[in-house]
């Protein structure tokens, strides 16, 4: 690495030409026009459900290794020029807005809060924060007596973190927390709103760092520099913010991956020998089935369990992979309270990307705080509709609401990401209602535990104290959640998990779960980078044959035998 650092500019990622396959003047993916097509009865090497962070990285890696891969994606194949707008309310279509039922004592809002739809998945609308998990996140049961230990370690994932960080690429300051590391792109300039948060944190007695964000700082291949317009959550019309649509899909298409967009998977098919044979999906009202030697589900924490639970057969009466009643359990969200501070000067927080500076000082367990695990702190910077939701959540409507809204340009917003613990009762099940295809809807029940409530309360106190130290004239608070993790977790025993450390379903040897639902814990880190790194690791193991992959006699790949 030392010699590489002498090269001016960022390092071109190995084995991924995506940034160079894009058009410098238009934002669509040029390779889509000449995409390879497979016949449905042609059993491809792998069919993947979901073109998000997990599915797209897996497809790109396997295609590079010569695998024939088809991705089934429920939403559209986006053209950012044509389909996305620089507007909050006008971006409704980039979220997963098909109905789901939410319950429990602390129900979790879905939709634009955490659920994407279309090629690129939730990374189309994520803010862009891409921190790594800490090494401790993989061993919370051993270290802190809570959560679960992963079947794999941080060290196994580290080379894939490094590789994905170069591909996105991630910009930020040297990272002193967790496993200390640098980033391929230098930190972005920060906005006034972030500067004020930074000053407040220093006066309070903690340090923040710029980044880490998956936003190119400088031209990267044919992806232009960020223009600091602030609409990261509405889909990046610039192609500066990383999503699989620009970071992995162009290279995947170049190596023969087919993406079938607007195709809703409804069932995983199995044969009489306990193997998956393909995926049934609905496209334009008609049912199809893509045959494959192996199946990977990458639909995230609600839709992946829903698909498995809906894949019932005589051999799998409670849904595929659900013999031990583990599918849909241990779904996690991060507690994400936000506290806004008011200042005499103009902050104009709508300018520059919302993800700017963050701190992981409170990430690890500190027994003196009275709860296990911790939280991170990040700038948020909502646009007007997001700010209005913040104001009304603090109890203001009518003239009070209008007054706080008119004051928008004087505010800066900090958020916490609190590590809430995995609980078996926080789960996705099937509702009594069905969608237009007749597929039962997902029902997501969520209730916090005492440790969760203590964590969130403490984090809110810290955010208040930071703004007080910064000299805020007023503060407003909102309780909310962020991100989804778990639901088909990996583990060491089929009794307490859905997949093994190679993401392989305990019950069905050629069925994999490659997305955020496989994570046993969530840390206080935004999950996108870790989901991508896990798919990168899985693909490496599949392609090298370490996960029971071998060519069968007819030349197709046999996965999961033995």
């Amino acid at each position: 690495m030392r010699a590489v650092r002498l090269v001016k500019g960022s390092v071109r990622p190995p084995d991924n030409d995506s940034a160079f396959l894009l058009d410098p003047h238009r934002r669509h993916v040029p390779g889509a026009a000449r995409m390879r097509r497979y016949r449905e009865d042609d059993a491809v090497d792998m069919v993947i459900v979901g073109a998000g962070a997990g599915g797209t990285v897996l497809a790109q890696r396997l295609a590079r290794a010569g695998w024939r891969v088809v991705i089934i994606e429920a939403g559209p194949f986006w053209d950012p020029d044509r389909d996305w707008v620089s507007d909050e309310a006008g971006s409704h279509h980039i979220y997963w807005t098909q109905t789901r039922i939410i319950g429990g004592e602390d129900p979790v809002a879905l939709g634009n809060n955490n659920s994407g739809r279309g090629v690129g998945g939730s990374m189309i609308h994520y803010a862009g924060y891409t921190p790594r998990f800490h090494p401790s996140d993989f061993r919370t049961r051993s270290l802190d007596g809570v959560g679960a230990d992963w079947p794999i370690s941080y060290e196994e994932l580290r080379p894939h973190y490094e590789r994905v960080e170069r591909e996105l690429p991630v910009a930020g300051e040297y990272w002193p927390w967790g496993d200390p590391h640098g980033y391929p792109h230098s930190p972005h300039p920060i906005s006034g709103a972030a500067e004020r948060a930074w000053e407040g944190a220093l006066r309070y007695g903690i340090e923040m760092r710029v980044g880490p964000v998956a936003i190119a700082n400088g031209q990267f291949g044919n992806r232009p520099h960020c223009i600091y317009r602030g609409f990261c959550l509405q889909g990046c019309k610039v192609n500066a913010k990383a999503s699989p649509l620009v970071t992995h899909l162009p290279d995947a298409l170049e190596h023969g991956v087919e993406v079938r967009a607007d195709s809703m998977a409804t069932r995983v098919e199995t044969d009489g020998h306990g193997r998956a044979t393909g995926v049934v999906y609905v496209h334009e009202g008609r049912e199809h089935m893509q045959r494959a030697d192996a199946v990977a589900i990458s639909g995230y924490s609600i839709e992946t369990p829903r698909l498995l639970l809906n894949s019932r057969s005589p051999a799998h009466p409670n849904g595929i992979g659900n013999g031990a009643d583990q599918v849909g359990r241990y779904v996690m969200v991060q507690g994400a309270p936000q506290v806004a501070g008011r200042f005499p000067e103009a902050m104009r927080m709508y300018k520059a990307p919302p993800p700017e500076v963050s701190s992981e000082v409170f990430y690890e367990t500190d027994a003196s705080r009275g709860f296990a695990r911790g939280f991170s702190i990040q700038t948020i910077s909502p646009l007007p509709i997001g700010w209005a939701e913040h104001v009304i959540a603090d109890g203001h409507w009518g003239r009070q609401l209008r007054e706080y809204m008119r004051d928008y340009n004087h505010w800066s917003v900090l958020g916490a990401l609190c590590e809430l613990l995995p609980e078996p009762g926080n789960r996705v099940t099937l509702a009594d209602e069905a969608d237009e295809n007749g597929t039962p809807l997902a029902r997501f029940e969520y209730t916090q535990c005492e440790n969760d409530r203590a964590n969130i309360a403490f984090a809110k106190g810290v955010l208040h104290d930071i703004w007080e130290a910064a000299g805020a004239q007023d503060v407003l608070t909102i309780d909310r959640y962020a991100h989804l993790i778990g639901g088909c977790r990996m583990g060491t025993s089929p009794e307490t998990s859905v997949v093994d450390g190679d993401h392989r379903c305990w019950e069905v040897p050629n069925l994999f779960v490659a997305d955020g639902s496989a994570l046993p814990t969530q840390g206080s880190a935004n999950p996108a980078l870790t989901i991508m790194a896990l798919s990168s690791r899985l693909a490496e193991r599949l392609a090298s044959g370490r996960v029971s992959g071998s060519r069968s006699r007819d030349g197709s790949r046999m996965v999961g035998v033995g």
């Binding site: 807005t97 039922i101 223009i227 019309k237 209008r402 007023d474």
Partner: protein, 244 residues
């Protein structure tokens, strides 16, 4: 420097908002009720700088569609409810309920439904019946016929989850408040008139921003009234600085 200190903010005034009609009247463009903090800022003057897709979406909001989800008899109460939540007491008003109606009709829904809640379109209908029931308890025929004080009283109790009985027992009141107000806020703060009111830059593609720091602004961004105090007496036409 009226906005440098925070004396106008409700938390600093015992929960009471300052009188909005003491704010400057809008001189360029439109704000709801024609008052705001950026009297010479009209975001619509910058529409030529927006990308075509965004311009189409935003400008369409200036001509909201006719009602398609709600029935005529539901409109007065629900319009009054929206205007009470947003404190829109005179023209010009953002026609909030029309945008709510369009979203419900076109099934642009949030993507989740609280357990125990009916579908959003039905939730709105029940809220209308509940508001009218409360109004009758106060001696009026409907919520729309109440005085502003009466409307504020009912909406305040709605916001504090204090409404009980009748239709309010058919769904969790807390969720009904969240579902309806989220739709109201989305409609109101998606409208470019509200961006004039709060000094939001609006769509920023492909132009982007260069001046990110504290108290910095692009030449075209709106200035708060405090910075324009000396200009207040001038005619709009004499101010060349705010063109697109």
């Amino acid at each position: 420097m009226p906005f440098e200190n925070a004396g106008h903010l409700p938390n600093r005034r015992g929960g009471e908002a300052a009188e909005p009609y003491d704010l400057p009247r809008q001189r360029r463009g439109i704000t709801p009720q024609m008052h705001g903090r950026y009297p010479d800022y009209n975001v619509l003057e910058h529409a030529s700088h927006w990308d075509e897709q965004t311009r189409t979406v935003v400008l369409a909001r200036l001509e909201p569609p006719e009602y398609r989800h709600f029935e005529p008899e539901e409109l007065p109460t629900l319009e009054a409810f929206c205007d009470t939540v947003m404190a829109q007491d005179t023209e010009p008003r953002i026609p909030v309920l029309r945008f709510v109606d369009a979203a419900l009709h076109e099934r642009r829904l949030p993507g989740y439904r609280y357990e125990g809640m009916p579908p959003d379109g039905e939730a709105w209908r029940r809220v209308r019946r509940g508001l009218d029931d409360e109004a009758r308890a106060l001696g009026a025929g409907t919520f729309a016929e109440l005085s502003q004080e009466g409307r504020d009283d009912i909406v305040g109790r709605f916001s504090r989850e204090e409404l009980r009985g009748g239709v309010w027992d058919t769904m969790p009141v807390k969720r009904a408040w969240t579902v309806t107000t989220a739709a109201i806020l989305t409609a109101y703060y998606a409208h470019p008139w509200s961006w004039n009111e709060i000094g939001f830059g609006g769509p920023a593609y492909p132009r982007g921003y260069m001046r990110l720091g504290i108290d910095q602004h692009e030449p075209w961004e709106g200035r708060e009234a405090e910075g324009l105090a000396a200009d207040f007496q001038q005619d709009v036409d004499a101010d060349p600085g705010m063109g697109p």
